[in-house]
């Protein structure tokens, strides 16, 4: 085989995605950039907020979590440096998520209790059935459906693995475009600390879960409830923790086949 035929002829949807996301005139961006570039003005506004958050974390991050983290670090420190990040990251992510979910759950229970009290005091509790939230109704009418899951090397945007329900566009180029869009957005707004977490395009949503050396991007159709979103995020973290232990130095077919099979197994065959 000499140089092969181009793998993609038409990138219509991709081009549109690109236009929608990127064609915002560069002028507007430059203006924003100028504002952001003025360090003093920016830091004056941002510093107190950051401080506040830090203080909150300092006071609220429970002791027992810190102990678990310490233990994890102890075990893994013996291994190589690069690996540490890859191993710790999903674990930390999962714990923080768990902590936040827990806090929310408590808040919710408090509210429920409060409501119950109020209604029973007024003697009308039991007359009204609990009504479904708009979110619940929506997600029943148009259930969430995972279309594709990409595992992508973070810097290069090279595709490490893919599981998909359809075989439409060139997935290598799509993985590259996701990465380019991520880089563009993250860079344009100088938010290295914050990372792009989702891209929405027509009735598709693309969720992104970032890790130090790679990220997972999930294309979803249908409407997604907060709970489903949460479950998806947990599953992505668990996948990362259990399956992406080591990243190869070269991206080869063998590497890709391996990860693709794992993704398929986790996201398209019922894994409980």
């Amino acid at each position: 085989m000499r140089d092969s035929k181009p793998q993609v002829d038409s990138h219509q949807p991709l081009d549109r995605l690109r236009e929608i996301l990127l064609s915002e005139d560069r002028e507007a961006l430059q203006r924003i950039e100028q504002i952001l570039e003025n360090r003093e003005a920016l830091s004056e506004r941002v510093s107190p907020i950051v401080e506040e958050h830090l203080e909150f974390l300092r006071q609220n991050f429970p002791k027992e979590f810190r102990e678990v983290v310490d233990r994890q670090i102890d075990v893994k420190l013996k291994d190589s440096q690069d690996e540490i990040l890859n191993v710790i990251y999903p674990v930390l992510g999962r714990m923080i998520r768990k902590y936040i979910t827990h806090q929310f759950q408590m808040l919710k229970e408090n509210i429920d209790r409060q409501i119950k009290k109020t209604f029973s005091r007024q003697g009308i509790f039991g007359i009204f059935r609990r009504r479904k939230s708009s979110e619940e109704i929506l997600s029943e009418a148009d259930p969430m459906h995972i279309e594709e899951v990409y595992l992508i090397q973070r810097d290069s945007g090279l595709l490490l693995g893919i599981a998909s329900q359809q075989q439409t566009m060139d997935q290598d180029a799509v993985a590259g475009m996701f990465t380019a869009i991520k880089a563009f957005v993250e860079d344009a707004f100088r938010r290295e600390q914050e990372e792009l977490a989702s891209i929405e395009y027509e009735n598709y949503k693309i969720f992104i879960q970032n890790f130090p050396a790679y990220y997972l991007a999930v294309a979803i159709s249908g409407s997604v409830s907060a709970k489903e979103k949460d479950q998806l995020a947990s599953r992505l973290l668990r996948f990362a923790e259990e399956e992406v232990l080591q990243l190869p130095s070269e991206v080869t077919d063998t590497v890709r086949t391996g990860f693709s099979q794992k993704l398929e197994h986790w996201f398209f065959t019922d894994k409980t």
């Binding site: 085989m1 000499r2 140089d3 092969s4 181009p6 793998q7 993609v8 990138h11 690109r18 236009e19 996301l21 990127l22 064609s23 560069r26 090397q153 973070r154 810097d155 290069s156 945007g157 090279l158 595709l159 060139d170 290598d172 180029a173 590259g176 475009m177 990465t179 380019a180 869009i181 880089a183 563009f184 993250e186 860079d187 344009a188 070269e250 991206v251 080869t252 077919d253």
Partner: protein
Amino acid sequence: MISKKIILTGSFGVGKTSLFNQFIYNRFDDKYLTTIGVKVNKKVIEIDGKELSLLIWDIAGEVSQDKVPNSYFLGASGIVFVFDLTRPSTYKNIANEIKYLQEIGDPNSIIKVVANKSDLVDEEKINEVAAEIQRPWDVITSAKTGENVQELFRELGRELIDAAE
């Protein structure tokens, strides 16, 4: 088959997209449609019986390289810096531009300097540019006629395969 990321960079209008289109689709367009953001596409080439998948990033040109989002260069095994033989402003600062790319690119990435639009200049002009440019180019191309376009990417591909072994 291994996959590698290559990025095309340089000032606006020097012919990055034209080289990309010539390499991937064997086509050329006289119209100038400036690139917005990035376009990524793939081509698989074969070198000494080994397949190599090139993921090529065609980015929006900037007058100076420090205007390009740094993260575009991350993880790129090859950086192709293109300038336009007919526009001195696209190469007058080339030494600094290349130095900058060496600093922000991955330490192992291979940088190629490409002098494009050779079809628009005669030999005398080429010698003139060669005499005044701060850094010699690696290859002289024409995205219009296709001169040296496949060769540029094949040579880069060969070096990438050698480096991977």
